[in-house]
Amino acid sequence: MERSINHRVFYPHAPEVVWDYLTKAELMEQWLMKNNFELKLGHDFQFNTGPIPSMDFDGIVYCKVLEIEPLKKLTYSWKCGPGNGQITIDSIVYWTLLAKDNGTELLLENSGFKEANFNVVIFNAMEQGWLANMNKIYKIINEAKNASTNA
């Protein structure tokens, strides 16, 4: 199953211009969403758009700035849910800017999708945990068997 969103767009503008549109709240609002972003590592911010009841989405995306590499890289968490601060979808947005001869290539990756408090999280943990336990049990039984044969 594809769990990662990837887009690549070329803009005939210098990285400085594109970077501004990714990191200045008033410019971001013009193409993305209303927000209170600040270019500060660890800054918590939100994007606000209209709620989408059919998706169980209250219209607020909760984010935190995770990585800044000026003019090159910007990473923030991307979480949303049905309301009251409840988070059901947890992911990460990675922006990468590549300077080209006559513009900038912008790479977007939105990945690491997890359903918070949901089956997937539990199942990953279970799958790992139980397999390890099962193998351990298997080993112990075998060792016990060998020990008794040797005795």
Binding site: V9, W31, N110, F113, N119, V120, F123, M134
Partner: protein
Amino acid sequence: MLTMLSEKSLPINSLAEHFDMSRPAVSKHIKIMYNAGFISIEDIGRERYCTLKKDGFDELQKWISFFDNFWKGKLKNLETLLNNKIKK
């Protein structure tokens, strides 16, 4: 095991062949996954088939498709915005 089931339903016997575990250990593993609601078990002929319950996965996939389209649209907005900037 769940990864194998994500492709298709499988009889317990052929699932067991893929793992270096005793048959009782496999049965126990399956019982745990069944009790947790991750899989369903159905008798077809002489075999017991395990099927992955996809509710959780489909829900996540719905969100991923949603954001995929969302970003496509937003990046297009940015393109329009930047192109207008050139013209000015």
